[in-house]
């Protein structure tokens, strides 16, 4: 049986029915996965990689249509057989782990029930129990009686993986299984998957946009672009040399830490920092009687940021870094402690008046949600300019055009009347930056400004932020969980953990020589390590 590929796809074409006929999404794609092989399928959003993943088990939802080609799983034809035969093959020969761990489990059924349901599909020969499945993925079998919402995201995804392994299928499809999870959790999950694969010998198809991750876990890699596979290669060879220019572009587009030049402490008038906090604390759900809080998001943080400086605030999700950012801009009020931005306490938004000077402006993470879908780009910027403190309001249009030019959206006139959904993600974030700059702030608080963008444009946006700092002298508080991009752009790095800053220092120094366990963990979780493509890789910590 070893000679039968776990998955064999020949000339597969998939399209989506539209108002004017079928729009192709996957165009004559062919590849195969040998039994027990770990295959990675990489590409940017919209390239068709998930379409392929879902087509394999015929789970692609309407209006998706498979328009040609063949799919065989362990020799079983998935496209010509009748529905019942296909259904019989599902899960037994191939299973799938979906992207969103929160919604892929039935919310009203206990874990045990859901695992058992999968087990019931198999023959009694497999003979596992739900408890054994949980143990397999390192979850306490006591959690069997739990409901999905009582588990953490990582645990839920492990449950799904356990479920996927329940019938020992030949192939497991992982469709971006960790994008919604923390880097550290992602790393742990892949350690588990790799271990299980070694033990059980199933083949894996991993769909991801994260090339470094594939370098770490996959045997072979296929790169997709616009519905086609542009290159397929074993990982070691691919790391050395990329045949296709797009593969190369994809790889080099990711920001990397350049350890060749040590970070230099920027000149700063430390006497007058742009941002200064003292014993800043933010607690939620405080009981007025006991004084105890359900959650302390920010705990006694004292921090300084000099003008013209880019400081990255890094930490795992839930570490309190975003709350800190919102306090600095005045979107959230601290429970106690002081914040001074450019020597002034930020005015809480609820009391903010137009034209009131504001030293800090926010750049938001969600490029889709941070612009009102109903208003034009021009409207957004005009409002920002009009509300901006001080300055000349006579030439609003001129100022808007200037802002657009600054962020690289030219010709400016072509953008003014467009609405957000007519722009790409990168363009939207540029608009977000322009809006933030309208008030001529001393400090930009950029909360994960690139995490929702495609890999290939992340660096452009980071470069733009760095350029703005250089040209306008604005300081930047860059909030991220991604130590690589932090190392790429920041002068200094502050590591946040459970509401406190546990480590602070020049960026490269911190990365090269992390002191705190938490920092080390964050660095270790980076797929492929930090110095992957650098000429002088730093020894992994």
């Amino acid at each position: 049986m070893l000679d039968v590929p776990a998955l064999d796809i020949v000339d597969l074409s998939v399209g989506y029915a539209g108002e004017n006929g079928i729009i192709p999404a996957v165009d004559r794609v062919s590849f195969n996965i040998a039994a027990g092989e770990f295959m990675g399928l990489a590409g940017e959003s919209g390239c068709g990689k998930s379409t392929i993943a879902q087509s394999i088990l015929r789970l692609l939802r309407a209006p998706g249509i498979i328009t040609g080609g063949e799919i065989r799983i362990a020799g079983n034809d998935m496209l010509s057989q009748d529905d019942n035969a296909v259904r019989a093959l599902r899960w037994r020969t191939a299973s799938i782990v979906l992207q969103n761990s929160l919604t892929s489990l039935n919310p009203v059924k206990r874990i045990a029930w859901q695992l058992q349901e999968a087990l019931n599909r198999g023959t009694s020969a497999v003979g596992r129990t739900p408890a054994e499945l949980l143990q397999m993925v390192d979850i306490d079998p006591k959690r069997l009686r739990a409901y999905p919402h009582e588990l953490s995201g990582g645990q839920r995804q492990r449950v799904v993986i356990a479920m996927a392994l329940a019938l020992e299928p030949k192939l497991i499809i992982l469709d971006e299984p960790t994008t919604a999870l923390d880097v550290i959790v992602q790393q742990e999950i892949f350690v588990t998957v790799k271990a299980l694969q070694r033990q059980m010998g199933f083949a894996v198809l991993l769909i991801t946009h994260d090339l470094p991750l594939l370098f770490e876990v996959a045997d072979r890699i296929a790169v997709m672009r616009d519905g086609r596979i542009v290159e397929t290669a074993p990982v070691p060879r691919f790391r050395q040399h990329q045949e296709h220019p797009y593969s190369r572009a994809l790889l080099t587009a990711s920001p990397k830490v350049d350890f060749t030049t040590p970070s230099v402490a920027r000149p700063k008038s430390v006497a007058h920092p742009v941002l200064e906090t003292a014993h800043l604390t933010k607690a939620y759900g405080t009981n007025p009687l006991t004084g105890r809080s359900a959650l302390v998001a920010v705990n006694d943080v004292s921090f300084r940021l000099a003008s013209g400086e880019i400081v990255a605030l890094v930490g795992a999700s839930g570490s309190g870094k975003s709350t800190f950012g919102r306090i600095v801009t005045g979107l959230t009020r601290p429970s106690s402690g002081d914040v001074l931005v450019d020597g002034r306490t930020p005015v809480p938004v609820s009391r903010r008046r137009p034209h009131q000077p504001r030293a800090a402006q926010m750049v938001f993470q969600d490029v889709y949600g941070s612009l009102n879908p109903l208003h034009t780009i021009g409207h957004h910027l005009r409002r920002a300019v009009i509300s901006a403190p001080g300055g000349d309001k006579t030439d609003v249009e001129g100022r808007v055009a200037a802002l657009l030019t600054e962020v690289g959206l030219t010709p400016t006139a072509s953008y003014l009347d467009r609405r957000p959904h007519e722009l790409s993600g990168g363009q939207r974030q540029r608009v977000g930056l322009a809006r933030a700059l309208a008030a001529s702030p001393k400090l930009l608080v950029a909360d994960e400004p690139v995490s929702m963008l495609d890999v290939s444009i992340r660096r452009d946006i980071l470069n733009l932020i760095a350029r703005l700092r250089d040209e306008q002298g604005v300081a930047v508080l860059y909030i991220t969980h991604d130590v690589v991009s932090a190392g790429y752009i920041a002068d200094r790095i502050a590591v946040m953990h459970r509401g406190q800053i546990v480590e602070e220092g020049l960026a490269k120094a911190v990365l090269a020589n992390p002191q705190h366990a938490c920092t080390r963990q964050l660095i270790a979780a980076v797929p492929g390590g930090l110095g992957l493509e650098t000429p002088n890789p730093v020894p992994a910590s």
Binding site: A62, T67, P354, Q361, S370, P373
Partner: protein, 308 residues
């Protein structure tokens, strides 16, 4: 989701092309036009006895006459006018009230929200019609009482609906962004929040018109309306009063009853169709069918169509 977001020009064309919407619009249009033009096209004075008592439909009286000898067609036309303006007023007022409560609650949050939500929920659980009946029993009958009573008892569901919609919008980052830019509160509510609730508000409004028409008719039928006003509800009341069914004068019943039912039906059809077209899942099904794939059930099995 705003209307313009949900519906591109294409979808709008589709909406107008759908059979239920066409049927709904034609019925509604005919009823509204007939009512608006009552003064012009009504053949008789609706209050005057212009024929014999309970005359069946004839050329002189297309819809027959009432137990008091009035022309049913003329009453139907004038009645539509009175019924519809009251219904629309109620729908407008309940929608406005619900919006004000919801936006206030969603925007200020904190104790303001708590209090408003509590009031809303109390109004929601107190059964409507009994309260309306008791209220109407204490107030002088007439359109104003009708509007007042049904507005007081009819806004709560909308407030809850709008509040949850507003709260979820409030979490969208563009609101935080607008705050950050320094927009004033009222401007954020009016310019950023409200327009994004367009489709929900529109759907609610249509439902409120339906609610108002039937509730109004019910109250009038119970004798809690102004018997001197001609409305569809009071026509039914008078028909019931003169024992129209037992005397076989079905036309005095069926005309206003069907007028109410058809108005409500046409609005419901339109609302439902808008829902359907806005539903991405159903839209996907439709596209699939258009591409020539027959989907007999909801079972998830991606179709294979090699000749496409």
């Amino acid at each position: 989701m705003s209307l313009s977001e949900t519906f591109g020009a294409k979808a709008r064309r589709q909406l107008l092309g759908s059979i239920p919407v066409t049927v709904g619009l034609v019925i509604l249009g005919a009823l509204v036009a007939a009512s608006v033009l009552a003064q012009v096209i009504a053949p008789y004075n609706p209050k005057r006895a212009t024929g014999g008592i309970n005359e069946p439909p004839s050329l002189a009286h297309l819809f027959g006459t009432t137990g008091q000898g009035q022309d049913v067609l003329s009453q139907f036309l004038y009645g539509g006018q009175n019924t519809l303006w009251v219904a629309f007023s109620i729908a407008v007022l309940t929608t406005l009230l619900a919006l004000v409560v919801a936006l206030t609650a969603a925007y200020f949050r904190g104790w303001v929200d708590d209090v408003l939500t509590l009031v809303t929920n109390v109004f929601l659980v107190i059964p409507g019609l009994p309260l309306v009946v008791v209220l109407a029993a204490f107030l002088p009958p007439g359109p104003l009482t009708m509007i007042m009573v049904l507005t007081i008892t009819g806004w709560a569901f909308g407030a809850r609906l709008f509040r949850s919609q507003a709260l979820s919008l409030r979490e969208r980052e563009f609101i935080a962004a607008a705050e950050d830019v320094g927009e004033s509160r009222w401007r954020i509510v009016a310019i950023e929040l409200l327009p994004n609730m367009g489709s929900v508000v529109a759907a609610y409004f249509v439902n409120q018109v339906i609610f108002a028409i039937t509730a109004q008719a019910s109250l009038e039928f119970l004798g809690l309306g102004d018997g001197g006003q001609i409305t569809w509800g009071s026509m039914l009341f008078w028909a019931q009063n003169s024992s129209a069914l037992i005397r076989g004068a079905w036309w005095t019943f069926v005309v206003p009853g069907m007028a109410i039912a058809l108005t409500a039906f046409s609005l419901a059809l339109i609302n439902n169709a808008v829902d359907e077209i806005g539903n991405p899942r159903l839209r996907a099904d439709r596209l699939l069918r258009r591409a020539g794939v027959r989907k007999p059930s909801a079972t998830l099995m991606t179709p294979v169509k090699r000749d496409a």
